[in-house]
């Protein structure tokens, strides 16, 4: 239900916008580009000036100035090209998919048409299942990711910063890491039944190790010369950590989090495939058992979209952090 609602509101939103604002919405990213602050002030100044001065307002004087340096950048560095370029392949795939399935080259039982997948989505949404599955899966991923990443950061810091911590913890954690993660499943099910805990813990295990490993290694390899400089200028302990070590590892921490998030989705599906009564993983098994290939496609596409979306959010932070700290 919520799925269709969302779809409806976005489509009506677009249709309902006055012509001018639609234009501005589409024009702004092309002219001013990603620097969101610039795009924001652009819009604001437009409303400040009022409808009669739309064309001659500050917008007109800003546009050429901001355009000039952009034009010198190579095509591959421009925002719109990156977005369009990234969308090309999915669109092409969709077209090929449509062609192949409508031409009957592959039987529908093997490859449903995009329309069938769309209808399956609407059907599930009307039963109220689509929103629920997406919500529960996302919730599990976020909870598991947050737990695992937090513990990973803490233990990674202990092992990376303290020689003693390294000696005491690293061998054990290394051994636990060596256990193939799916080996935990029977144990978790025995201990926690098929409840939420078992899945969240499995996801947390999946998120923990990339964060722990990368953070510990990054802290261990902070430039010794910079550390020595920090110490020579009176920093030690917490202040040394805040001055040198933490800033030095910020980019690594973010890429570790990104990796951990991807792992979290992986482990989510593993957990839901094996033992669950809802969620996208459950949708996959259930549809497999019932031969609903359209729903299998739907689940896969949803996983791709959700995974990419959450990844993009961290990616945004990562890009900022690299600009700021690297």
């Amino acid at each position: 239900m919520s799925g269709t609602d969302a779809a409806k509101t976005t489509s009506t939103d677009r249709a309902g916008l006055p012509d001018g604002s639609v234009d501005r919405h589409f024009a702004a990213p092309v002219v001013v580009g990603r620097p969101t602050a610039a795009a924001g002030s652009y819009d604001e100044s437009g409303t400040d000036v009022g409808p009669d001065a739309k064309d001659t307002g500050p917008a007109a004087s800003v546009a050429p100035r901001s355009r000039e340096p952009r034009d010198r950048r190579p095509l591959t560095r421009r925002r719109w090209f990156v977005v369009v370029g990234g969308a090309l392949l999915p669109i092409a795939l969709l077209l090929v998919w449509q062609l192949v399935s409508t031409n009957g080259l592959v039987p529908v039982s093997q490859l449903p048409s995009p329309e069938m997948v769309w209808l399956a989505a609407i059907d599930l949404a009307q039963r109220g299942l689509l929103g629920q599955y997406v919500a529960i899966s996302t919730q599990r991923v976020l909870l598991g990711f947050a737990t695992g990443a937090a513990i990973g950061l803490a233990l990674g810091a202990v092992v990376g910063l303290s020689r003693l911590g390294d000696i005491l913890l690293a061998p054990t954690l290394g051994a636990i890491r060596a256990v193939p993660s799916l080996a935990w499943v029977p144990l978790l099910i025995l201990w926690f039944k098929i409840g939420e805990e078992s899945k969240i813990i499995l996801i947390a295990i999946g998120a923990f190790f990339p964060v722990y490993t990368i953070v510990a290694a990054a802290l261990r390899h902070v430039d010794r010369q910079l550390l020595e400089a920090g110490r020579a200028f009176g920093r030690h302990g917490i202040s040394l950590f805040a001055t040198v070590q933490l800033p030095a590892v910020v980019p690594s921490v973010l890429s570790a989090l990104r990796l951990a998030l991807a792992q979290s989705w992986l482990f989510l599906v593993a957990a839901e495939l094996i033992a669950s009564s809802m969620g996208l993983g459950f949708l996959l098994v259930d549809s497999g058992n019932n031969g609903r290939i359209d729903r299998i496609f739907l689940a896969i596409i949803l996983l791709a979209v959700l995974g990419k979306l959450t990844d993009a959010i961290i990616g945004l932070f990562e890009r900022r952090a690299i600009l700021r700290w690297a």
């Binding site: 400089a229 920090g230 020579a232 700021r324």
Partner: protein, 293 residues
């Protein structure tokens, strides 16, 4: 041998003088030796070094590459510990990362994520009030000619500029002992002369003991009260003080004076022998090498 502080310097540096000026401190090396263990073998680098540096003196340390100049400086700053002997500043043994010292490393070692101004601020004593810190940093940047680059990141400035920022950072804490490891190595001739003058100005305004490692004999003679030449003696490994030269006259010195020319020749000879020309049976160079050697 005791430093004679130079008078009549430019007012710009005077304004950099602070009320909290730390008094210059004498440094004493007693039987200092340092050996490094590598690949199972113990290799002595410094051997039984005795040296007294008076408060406010500028001591230049010359020597061939790899002879242990940086090691000596690091020991003086408490960044490294001698394997034998000890170093005392103002009569008390050097503590690890001794706060009485300010270090200008051989490499700029600026924190890449901080602006030049914030990097210089790192050198200020901890707990400096924010407002004071800002004016101090602005002054220091002005002094080393980086006022326009305060907001730049280290990767956005040249090597020489980074080195000047590093010098400013070392000066920031107004240390009793200033340890400078080839602070002007990456500078062009003109900037180098300017920075040498700057160092003398700072020293005149706030007399501090300076241990200055350099490769440049002329620089040593121009800046220092005394020059020591480190190097191996005989077949024994490990550097000792091979020569000590008390530089006559007051700064600023006349670069063309005959007296300095004679000292220059002596020091270059000392360095030249260390180039192993004789030992390897290679013909000794007839021309005096110029910096960089």
């Amino acid at each position: 041998m005791t430093a004679t502080s130079v008078t009549g310097r430019q007012p710009t540096v005077r304004s950099a003088a602070r009320a909290d000026a730390t008094a210059a401190a004498p440094v004493a090396f007693r039987g200092v030796g340092r050996a490094f263990e590598s690949a199972g073998a113990v290799r002595p680098v410094l051997r039984d070094l005795d040296l007294d540096v008076a408060a406010g003196e500028i001591l230049a340390i010359l020597g061939p590459s790899g002879c242990g100049k940086s090691t000596l400086l690091r020991i003086a700053g408490g960044l490294d510990r001698p394997t034998s002997g000890e170093v005392a500043i103002d009569g008390t043994p050097v503590a690890p990362y001794d706060r009485r010292t300010g270090v200008g490393f051989q490499e700029p070692r600026l924190l890449p994520w901080r602006t030049i101004a914030k990097n210089v601020a790192l050198g200020l004593p901890r707990g400096t009030p924010r407002e004071t810190a800002r004016t101090q940093v602005a002054r220091l940047l002005e002094l080393v000619g980086l006022a326009d680059f305060a907001g730049h990141r280290p990767r956005e400035v040249s090597g020489g500029m980074a080195q000047r920022a590093s010098l400013a950072r070392a000066l920031a804490r107004n240390p009793g002992v200033l340890l400078l490891d080839e602070p002007f190595g990456a500078l062009d001739a003109l900037t180098r002369l300017k920075m040498q003058d700057l160092l003398l100005d700072v020293h005149a305004a706030e007399p501090t003991t300076v241990l200055l490692v350099t490769h440049d004999v002329d620089e040593a003679l121009q800046l220092a009260d005394r020059v020591i030449l480190l190097g191996a003696e005989g077949d024994e490994p490990g550097a000792v003080i091979r020569q000590t030269v008390v530089v006559p006259g007051r700064r600023p010195r006349d670069r063309g004076s005959a007296e300095l020319a004679e000292l220059r020749g002596r020091l270059l000879d000392g360095l030249g022998i260390d180039r192993h020309g004789v030992a390897r049976g290679v013909e000794t160079t007839t021309t005096i090498p110029h910096y960089p050697y």
